[in-house]
Symmetry: C2
Subunit: 387 residues, 2 copies
Amino acid sequence: MKKIISIVASVLASCAFASAQQALGPGTGLVSPEINPDHSVTFRYNNPKAITVSVAGDCIEGRVPGGDGMAAMTQGKDGIWTYTTKPLEGELYSYSFIVNGQKTYDPSNVYLKRDVASYTNYFTLSVEKYDKGYWYEVHDTPHGSVSKVWYNSPSLGGTNRRLTVYTPAGYEDSKEKYPVLYLLHGSGGDEDAWSDLGRTIQILDNLIAEGKAKPMIVVMPNGVYFNSSAPGYTVNMFQPTMLNSRSDSTKEIEESFPDIIKFVESRYRVLKGKNYRAVAGLSMGGRQSCALSLAHPDTFGYVGMFSGVVPPSSQEDEARYAAVFKNAPKLYWMGVGSADGVKANYDKERAFLDSKGYKYEYYESDGGHIWRNWRVYLTIFAQKIFK
Amino acid sequence: MKKIISIVASVLASCAFASAQQALGPGTGLVSPEINPDHSVTFRYNNPKAITVSVAGDCIEGRVPGGDGMAAMTQGKDGIWTYTTKPLEGELYSYSFIVNGQKTYDPSNVYLKRDVASYTNYFTLSVEKYDKGYWYEVHDTPHGSVSKVWYNSPSLGGTNRRLTVYTPAGYEDSKEKYPVLYLLHGSGGDEDAWSDLGRTIQILDNLIAEGKAKPMIVVMPNGVYFNSSAPGYTVNMFQPTMLNSRSDSTKEIEESFPDIIKFVESRYRVLKGKNYRAVAGLSMGGRQSCALSLAHPDTFGYVGMFSGVVPPSSQEDEARYAAVFKNAPKLYWMGVGSADGVKANYDKERAFLDSKGYKYEYYESDGGHIWRNWRVYLTIFAQKIFK
């Protein structure tokens, strides 16, 4: 009985309110995550009164390569919970803590990223030069500029729309003209997604500095035709969801995309013509890239479809493909994960392209419908264009 | 006894791990915060198994105006915790949930901001035109561009440093030249602080659209001379603290600031000369603005010190002030909160300026050393310069 009362007391006390004035983040005094010499990573979390704490993320072994796993953290006598992973490969890893069953963030780590409406902490790790993590980290190279600008889209009723533009190092100090990669996000995303989640800035800075990609401008528009901009930049502060931030139809994007090209080609010093324009996107943006190449067969010399493609389903579609491949793009590139639900579409698309003798490149990676794959596809695709 | 066992069981069960795969954020299905017709705000949080949940923030009445308060949330039969504030004035409000004594975020609200290493949710509320919230919200106006660019600082050993630049709507499409406001952050901050926490973009867009401020370029540098850029843009991903992100000495900033001006005046279409340059900053940045005006008496025609000032303490200092006020700045503006610890410095500075007959403007607000005040000071200061 005494023991039970003592348990009740301690459990209740443990859950009672401590102090809202406690120093958080800067004052946690903990190093988390810590990358160890063997490239394992240790997480630490100070919450003496929690009953259970787990760490969940893609740095913990899951069922699918690159998918999320979860592991219980162990509480030390000091009340601090810890967990150390296996040695990891170079990569950008995401994780959260699960405290008494509720997801929260690691208060010792300011690196937090938003995907649709969900936040996770992250860290990068590079084990050797040119591994995945290497491309995603910041190195001591010249850096490009990143601008958030607004353009008017007459095709979408004259709305003012927000756009992210990466101009490579040296752009402002030269008179040179540059080719342009148009890079499209997926459902739930916006014009901030590729720069914040896709490491586009770091990948391009690094590939260009290493001489592996041509200096190029990267334009990242908002691909949801009825949203003008990312959360925080609209008149009403909306909460993004997968439903309110996706365009199932590609028609509006096909029709309004020339507004973007016109804006970019008048505002920036760019090389014009098919061979200096690439379009690529992930998931919904992959479907849009496919649709844009079909709707504007003379506009893009390079087309990239990352985990999103629309295989032809009618004779009309086939006629549009014929128009594209009559004067074939220099590169028609498709990447998908072996565990991705959309892979069946890729099989269908490839069978069709093969049957017609249309040239394309296909890249299959491990894993599913995840940013880990899209970062890899961008790293590969960016090295193949404008050459 | 049975009752006690049942309590133990339910408390333990409540704290047990639920599921890491639960939908978070987009799938919470809750509206939080919800702004009610009477301008009170309701917070909702779904955590049936929590023992205590509070909401802490500046929308809850605290001891000091604008300071943080805290209130217990009430759990409904559906397990959802709620709390409704009193009717609120127009403002940008910050809050966090405190769950079983640990700070966490509101998973229904994607609006999250980082101050040094601490994250809090936020929302804006405007009750009437031109109240505080009005200036901080996005309106259907033309929007300026925001760029993250890099400049080389020979005075700081040739380091490549990151800079935020706001160019007003119309800048790119005109040939006009613009005046420049240099806006400096405080300890723990970086070149992202004024745009992310200070609502600089929205304040300037709105003031310019309403004809209350002159169109101007705003340059937000990193004011910590040994940091090249904000977290995430350095070679080593560092965790910012108040200690590793502050420069107690103003000497390096005084010496290296001409590198920034030189860069801005060669890269952008700007009006040159003292009457087209303003410098202002908060806390450490206020001290730096004060020091910059003394070190470069012919450079800035407008000087703003927000909760940071360095009153003269020697005859040498007094001689420097004399040099500044010989050809006095058009505006020497000081703002501080009545509950701010640095207010004594302002009293000392004012007594000195009065004794010499040097002209200045002084603005005292409620509250302490907080962003709420700095946003107000920027809104006031921006309307007074370049006129």
